[in-house]
């Protein structure tokens, strides 16, 4: 008899969970829900978003919170899976009654949550998903992008490449939306800036491809002047590795969007290739301003490591939330959105503005080349050129065209 008991017990627990919701404490706090990938390769980026967000909210709460209310946040791990993330987002909205949703690094999931948030009328601040559709074609009133996107990265990359003498290009990248979007963006802008470039060919590898040697040798046999590598996340490190092992970095120059980021360069140590062209939103050593130094110190004191680009996204998101609610004057979603549209705040990399039309934060892009520098255990970006936010943003006409509005 006792043996059979646990089954009803399990049912009872499940039912108890089904029947309970969380008590609404909405009066005292502002609740932010974060859905993001904390398992698997992307977590090297997302942990920084969460940690810096916590850093900023702790500071805001220490000063008495926003409009007398403290900011609290809860996180859910989506395992980089759309179904799990979507379920978690619904749980946060319906059961935790969050005021704002944040996340995620998975573009497909972000688009799904963005649509959900439009229906549920919950602001969704995107931190890290880079699809240009989020604030472009599929943009809506409730979604904001707190990071750069593929259109911006491509435009920045094209601006940098147009200044170089290369004519014959090869494009290679991750065979999914991010890779194709970034490659298309770079190529289209490059063609406009420099009409005589030719594309010799393309290679696309599956996401998470472990070994790039066969692709590199295939590219070498086409003898391009330069290569555009459209690989993101986990692909960057092994690609740089393979490029050193085959001497590819010495024979063909290449551009790779996130090549100069710390997540990519730090694991490689001093074996990373020099002279790789890359773009990023943030370096802890650049810009060399008091604001950035203060932020880096704060972050390093709290977590014992240097902030990566995700930290910037998390940090500014918290500050945008605080300032927007203060401007709105009350905890009201519609007023919050109205306040956030067109809002500017100071940040470690200077003033940042949310473009009112498409809710995209206008990030400047830093283009640099990898180099060994005395005093660092790994390569860093040097000769950094800042491309201002307004120059990399897609024009409002382009957004309108993508959305099909006149």
């Amino acid at each position: 008899m006792r043996k059979r008991m646990w089954f009803p017990v399990f049912l009872a627990i499940a039912l108890a969970f089904l029947l309970t919701g969380t008590a609404a404490q909405a009066e005292k706090i502002i609740k932010v829900g974060i859905v993001d990938t904390y398992t698997g390769p992307p977590s090297t980026y997302t942990n920084d978003v969460r940690d810096a967000f916590k850093l900023a909210t702790d500071k805001i709460n220490a000063k008495g919170g926003i409009l007398g209310k403290k900011i609290e946040f809860v996180t859910r791990d989506d395992k980089f899976k759309v179904d799990i993330g979507l379920s978690a987002a619904k749980e946060l909205i319906m059961r935790e009654n969050v005021d704002i949703l944040m996340g995620t690094i998975n573009s497909g999931l972000t688009l799904a949550i963005s649509d959900l948030c439009e229906k549920e009328k919950i602001p969704f601040l995107v931190t890290f998903a880079k699809s240009e559709k989020i604030t472009g074609e599929k943009g809506n009133r409730y979604v904001f992008s707190m990071n750069e996107n593929t259109a911006m990265a491509g435009k920045a990359g094209a601006a940098g490449l147009a200044k170089k003498p290369y004519k014959k290009y090869w494009i290679a990248g991750d065979d999914y939306e991010y890779g194709h979007a970034i490659a298309d963006s770079v190529w289209n802008h490059l063609k406009t800036l420099k009409p005589d470039v030719v594309l010799l060919g393309q290679s696309w590898w599956k996401v998470g491809e472990p070994d790039f040697t066969p692709y590199i040798t295939a590219m070498l046999s086409a003898k391009p002047d330069a290569v555009i590598i459209a690989t993101g996340g986990a692909g960057c490190v092994p690609f740089l590795k393979a490029s050193v092992a085959t001497g590819f970095n010495k024979s063909v120059p290449f551009y790779m969007h996130t090549a100069t980021e710390m997540s990519t360069l730090a694991p490689l140590g001093l074996t990373a290739p020099e002279g790789v062209l890359g773009t990023s939103n943030y370096f802890y050593y650049f810009p060399d301003t008091p604001e950035n130094k203060a932020f880096v110190k704060e972050f390093k004191d709290a977590y014992g490591r240097f902030p990566k680009v995700g930290a910037l996204y998390g940090y500014i998101t918290a500050n945008f939330i605080a300032k927007a609610y203060e401007k709105a004057g009350e905890i009201n979603t519609e007023k919050f959105i109205n306040a956030l549209e067109g809002m500017s705040i100071g940040s470690p990399i200077g003033e940042l503005t949310v473009r009112a039309f498409d809710h995209q934060v206008m990030f400047p892009m830093f283009m640099g080349t990898t180099k060994k520098v005395e005093g660092y255990d790994y390569l860093i970006a040097t000769d950094i050129v800042t491309i201002p936010g307004k120059d990399v943003m897609p024009s409002i006409e382009e957004i309108k065209k993508a959305r099909g509005v006149k």
Partner: protein, 298 residues
């Protein structure tokens, strides 16, 4: 797209060489899986996790010894041993009670082990990417027919046949190998003549997992070591084992060869469709040989 415009004999040769080095890793991992499948009849999904753990331990040991020649060789030797010890614990602690269960149940059980190992790896090594630097002797490349060929890949190509020979020797020439092969066919009979089948099974399981760890250790210097490595390799390993013939070591070698070569040559010939090549190859192979290319033990 201009189809196959840049294919030359030397480029083909080059891709074949690169494919061979990939074959080595695939073979080492798949042969371990095949051994366990053939003798113990366990579809060991956790094999991929052990491969991942092997790579992470490779990183840690190499780091501990400060890299270089010493660090590299210590790591290549120690990490498969460590993986073997982990698997020994798992086998003695859990699996030995489960041999009589339905295959699907064993599949489910090994899958739950991957869940546990996946999170354990996250707890121990964190979420940052890890890299293993090669010792100076393996850095750089040879130029073969005008194309660069990484030295380490050449090392891998040499390792492949060595492991294959070792396995052949083990299964055909040693007592334990012979008993294991007999047990694969009829475990009751082997038990009846007074051999402790359970211990033989444990040994085979550990050897198979040792190979997973070896594969992980050898692959570590060529890529970034990260969570999720297990998923990528396990499906390929299973496809290779099935294509080659369950439990047949030479089948695993043949399967890995076909897999590695079609993959690398496919990339040169038709890069846009590289993503589907492995699956197409398996479909074709199984359509013509429904029981795998070589004789299976099942």
């Amino acid at each position: 797209m201009d189809f196959a415009s840049n294919i030359t004999i030397s480029a083909l040769f080059q891709q074949a060489l690169v494919g061979l080095s990939r074959t080595t890793i695939l073979f080492i991992v798949a042969s371990g899986l095949s051994l366990i499948l053939g003798v113990l009849r366990i579809p060991n999904v956790a094999h991929g996790s052990l491969y991942m753990i092997g790579a992470f331990i490779m990183y840690s040991v190499n780091h501990f010894f400060g890299g270089g020649q010493a660090g590299f060789w210590m790591a290549v030797l120690l990490s498969p041993v460590a993986v073997a010890l982990i698997s020994l614990a798992v086998e003695r602690g859990l699996f030995q009670y489960l041999y009589e269960r339905e295959h699907l149940m064993l599949l489910l059980f090994t899958f739950s082990i991957t869940l546990v190992f996946g999170d354990l790896v996250k707890m121990v090594w964190g979420s940052d990417y890890r890299c293993v630097d090669l010792p100076a002797a393996f850095q750089g490349f040879f130029t073969i027919l005008g194309f660069p060929f990484p030295r380490y890949n050449l090392f891998l190509i040499i390792i492949g046949p060595v492991v294959a020979f070792g396995l052949w020797f083990l299964t055909n020439k040693t007592r334990i190998g012979k008993i294991a092969r007999a047990a694969a066919v009829d475990r009751e009979m082997v038990g009846a003549i007074g051999i402790n089948v359970s211990l033989v099974f444990a040994a085979v399981f550990v050897i198979g997992c040792f190979l997973a760890g070896l594969g992980g250790a050898l692959v570590a210097p060529t890529q970034n070591i990260r969570q999720g490595m297990d998923h990528a390799i396990i499906i390929e390993a299973f496809l290779i084992v099935i294509m080659g013939g369950l439990g047949n070591i030479w089948g695993a070698l043949l399967g890995a060869l076909i897999f590695g070569l079609t993959d690398s040559i496919g990339i040169l010939v038709w890069p846009q469709f590289a993503i589907v090549f492995p699956y197409v190859v398996v479909v074709i192979a199984l359509l013509f040989c429904p029981k795998g290319l070589l004789k299976s033990t099942w």
